[in-house]
Symmetry: C2
Subunit: 342 residues, 2 copies
Amino acid sequence: MAFLVRTLDELAALSGVSRATVSRVINGGSVSEETRARVTEVLERTKFRPNAAARTLASGRSGVVGVVMHLSPHLLFQDPYFTSLLQGLTDALAHQAAGMMLWLGNRSKEETLDQILWMRLLDGVVVTADHLDDPLVDGLLASDLPTVLIGHRRADRDASYVDVDNVAAADVITTHLLDIGRRRIGHITGRRGTVAGEDRIAGYLQAMARSGVSADDLIVDGAFTAASGREGARELLDRGVDAIFCGNDATAEGALESIRARNLSVPGDVALAGFDDVGFAARLDPPLTTMRQGVQEQGAEAARALFHLLRHRGGGPRRVILPTELVIRRSTVGETKGGRPP
Amino acid sequence: MAFLVRTLDELAALSGVSRATVSRVINGGSVSEETRARVTEVLERTKFRPNAAARTLASGRSGVVGVVMHLSPHLLFQDPYFTSLLQGLTDALAHQAAGMMLWLGNRSKEETLDQILWMRLLDGVVVTADHLDDPLVDGLLASDLPTVLIGHRRADRDASYVDVDNVAAADVITTHLLDIGRRRIGHITGRRGTVAGEDRIAGYLQAMARSGVSADDLIVDGAFTAASGREGARELLDRGVDAIFCGNDATAEGALESIRARNLSVPGDVALAGFDDVGFAARLDPPLTTMRQGVQEQGAEAARALFHLLRHRGGGPRRVILPTELVIRRSTVGETKGGRPP
DNA sequence: CCTAGGCTTGAGAGCGCTTCCATCGCGTAC
DNA sequence: GTACGCGATGGAAGCGCTCTCAAGCCTAGG
């Protein structure tokens, strides 16, 4: 076991060069092949690791990025949307050899913001921006900390973000319902006040209007939950609908239960569509037509966007709109046996 | 908007005191009431925040702790055990105003260990120690980084850990099955090589032996998954059992499916017991008898143990064994209508 | 009146690293 | 032979904070 080396100076003495040269070897500065080899040998033999705090202090970079998902951990960990996002993020960040600090909704947004900015330790941050009104997101954008949003509000046009086009996607799926001949198409919205929820309403209305079909009385408020889907579906069925487009898949799952409870068939009596294509969508009975958005991919893309930002300081913002894909299953097209049609 | 103050020196100049005094005000040193008030006023007016890297470098403490759960994020995020653990941890850590860095199984254990020790930025670390053989855990324990384990191996007797007594708990639940008159009690184990899995086998065997009942041919290997429960139950049913104790609740869920598939009744033909009492256990049909361990509480307790360690450097290790509770539901005692008996 | 002791405060020495700048040596061009 | 350019290297100045030490002041006791 080699003598425990704790500082660059000690390492430098062992290699017979100056501290500056060792630093160059570690950080990829210009060093002659010979010197580099010698220092590298000592580096490996002693398993020396530079002190992160010192290097952060001297360089202003830490190699640590923050991930902020400000919602109750209880909700977060059982929502496949957020866990997939987190999964995509952790993968991409690990790939970039960056450390990750995590902030969830354990404290108020103000406290969280304060703590993040307080430490001035992060190189940048990825934050979910799903609510129209969010002081945490506003605070991060207003700070000088490089920030990438997942989702974005109207006001965030100049920020860096990763998102999908919820309006267009909702239009496509509503149009699909119209295409299969439905006219009384109800919509159980996502949680009001969220960007995704409002945009999907807009897309739904847009498709309905284009087809000259009235949407009066066909919208009920949901909350991205199965419970709100059960409730919403009951209401819509009372009003007489032949199709329901739900704010997300969990909502559709709930709606399906209510439809079943009335002994109505899907899609015979009521066609059903969700949004997200999370894992269980394909396993419902009947399998659910939905709009696939690569949530994990969104997380990974956000991480990539952040690294792009960090590498090109002063460059413009980076905006990524990821594609969505209509996945048609038997909840709307009963004839097709499972899977996607050709 | 006040002038942006970035260093203690600037803040000191503004308050008419020295940098040292400002540092004392921030860190709770001894300062006269009058001076403290004056500095505090400036502190709040300027919204000054000390630089975390500098303070870490100077003091050797960062206020950041690591959480290491080295398993595939894919598995982690859909296993209620790990998400509950994470939830308990994040809550307790946020409560202590500590930052949290997270490492999951995105890279090899060796790389992860290397990265964690590399940065020398953490005050301490909480790590899940569920496998008998784990170089990551060994490496952390061997380092000088204060470490708290969740779960522990025989060899970890001298480490700090939070755990439950799996042997005793498995004994209790097996004894319960014996008490209700079952003799051919099968056990579908947890994943072999995990501490919990092996200990629960030991507890099961211990109870069987004490009652003088043979356990020959009544143990089949499981993997803490529903799939392994389905498989294992089929095998045990072939061998003729009147009860099955499963390594965890997910396994029991799978076993229940297989029992049902053979038109056998629970608990009439076969009594069924799980372990953990995760959310869905009470929602199965019939509701599942299981051993409740407060997983979220384990996470919180681990965080507390770590802070104890940090406050009492040089003190001994801190070991916490949390209680478990037998929750009797209708999968073993058919007469009782739901819930726990008096 | 002098001294001991307690409390507050400032000076200053690091913490371990990055990075600018000056120096050195060498090869090439004139 | 001299001048110049260029890559490699070392010296040293910080980065912003903590914390020890000593000085200064005041009170109380002898």
